[in-house]
């Protein structure tokens, strides 16, 4: 059992860049282009790891620590994730709160590294990066309240492992639709995807996440990229487990179903990015707030039925 969980964890990390490349492919398809190969992210990572890093003289050790800490935080978070509904490597009561603050720690170090460069642009990006996830955190905790109300437990495995998601659908019914949508909005915001932030923009003024990693180079940049692929994988698997809550009873078919639903989530992200333009900076909070509203709304409706 432990070995299988370990293999799944490694597979998750190894395949995360592949899944992210699907988004690029979908966007290229919508633009009428051929697009990069599906292995583009591996090529980018290996290219980056072969280079050496350049450090500005105004930076301190915090700047070198940032990418490392944020990647490690994300990898630790994946330990708690029941990948393909299989039992997670580590799990304890209350781990959900630990998980979301680990992600918070990763973000804190990214922000600290950005401030460390003393560049005004990076400070601006850091302020934005700190602002939007505040609302996301409210949403996540609303969802946790809902899940806790439904299951009476506080661990990720209790919500997403094995047949648990199906049980959630049975208990909460249609209000889980709202949960899926709000989780998807959180996914877009936390991973700086298009309606909130454009990862491919070349204008510092409109960047949020990208501006903070401008000064990182070589292996450091590679670590950051890998971390962001894994983070996207984490949120995408939460959504995937909710939209496809079935348990086949065996590991291999489970993995097949899980990969299929993950693919669906990534394709949806790609389609969203292709059909929606990014929002103006002042309308972004309203978009993120709608995820909070949906989560809160799901709680109110569910409370009516579970007394």
């Amino acid at each position: 059992m432990m070995i299988e969980s370990m293999i799944l964890w490694l597979l998750g990390i190894l395949l995360a860049p592949f899944f992210s490349a699907i988004i690029l492919k979908i966007k290229a398809f919508f633009g009428g282009k051929k697009g990069p190969s599906l292995l583009i992210n591996y090529q980018t990572l290996s290219k980056l790891f072969k280079k050496s890093s350049v450090y500005s003289t105004s930076t301190t050790f915090i700047f070198k620590l940032g990418p490392m800490v944020s990647l490690c935080a994300t990898l630790t978070v994946l330990l708690f994730l029941p990948i393909a509904g299989h039992r997670a490597l580590v799990s304890f009561d209350g781990d959900v709160i630990f998980i979301f603050y680990l992600l918070g720690l990763g973000r804190f170090f990214t922000i600290a590294a950005a401030m460390d460069t003393a560049s005004p642009f990076e400070g601006m990006g850091a302020a934005r990066e700190a602002f939007f996830p505040i609302i996301c955190e409210a949403t996540m905790f609303m969802l946790l309240v809902l899940f806790y109300k439904l299951t009476g437990e506080l661990s990720l495995a209790a919500y997403f492992a094995e047949t648990r998601p199906l049980a959630l659908w049975h208990m909460a019914g249609s209000s889980l639709f709202f949960v899926v949508v709000s989780l998807f909005i959180v996914l877009l915001t936390e991973n700086s995807r298009v309606p909130v932030d454009d990862p491919t923009t070349h204008l510092e003024l409109t960047m949020i996440h990208e501006v903070m990693v401008l000064d990182h180079s070589g292996p450091d940049l590679g670590l950051i990229e890998l971390g962001s692929f894994c983070k996207l994988f984490f949120y995408a698997s939460l959504v995937a487990r909710l939209i496809c809550p079935f348990d086949m009873g065996h590991l291999l078919p489970n993995m097949g179903v899980f990969a299929g639903s993950l693919l669906l989530v990534y394709v949806t992200v790609g389609v969203t990015e292709s059909v929606i333009a990014r929002f103006r900076m002042d309308t972004v909070p309203r978009f993120v707030l709608s995820s909070f509203v949906l989560a809160f709304f799901a709680i109110i409706i569910t409370m009516e039925f579970i007394k």
Binding site: A172, G173, F178, P285, R286, L289, F297, I300, F305
Partner: protein
Amino acid sequence: MIGPLDTILSLVLLSILFSFGTSLLPGLIKVLAFQGVIVSIVPLLLGHEMATGEIVFTLITMVIRGVIIPLCIYLAIKKVAIRREVEPIIGFNASILIGLILIAAATLVSRNFVVPSISDSALLLSTTITLLVGGMFLLIARRNAIAMVLGYIMMENGIYLAGTTFSIHSRHIVEFGILLDVLAAVMIMAIILQNIKHTFDDMDTALLRTLKE
């Protein structure tokens, strides 16, 4: 588990939140049209016997509420070519949060009500209260005259929901009468709007203060 009636009612609640968050008039009208249609479906889902005449009345109500009234308002704003923003007094984010508080409060309050309802749906009473108070809120928090009319229509949706679900006999006739009144009111509103527009070149109700004898 949540049945079809509760799904519909949660869609109504969601449409209230959407209407608090939309900044453009055509969007607001579409949300209200959607709300009108699903509110009129509710009597069909209550799960009790209905005569053919009642079903016909319900369907006619749906057409008036979901198509004719929104179309009238849409044509009115098209004709007078007014600004399309709803000009909020209370901002959109604050409005959405107030909407959430309204829903929560309505849910709390509705538990203390004892009404002879013909359905035991848990959401029915709280949806009704939210529609009524939400309509009032829209009347208070928007300065554009059309947005106010739409708030009034939202209140009317709430009254319809209360009327059809909490009374037993000949309710459709009464509701139909109310609906005709509303239809007349909307048409009069369209004429008055053109006059306001003619006088002020704007739909801002704050300007009406300058009217003197």
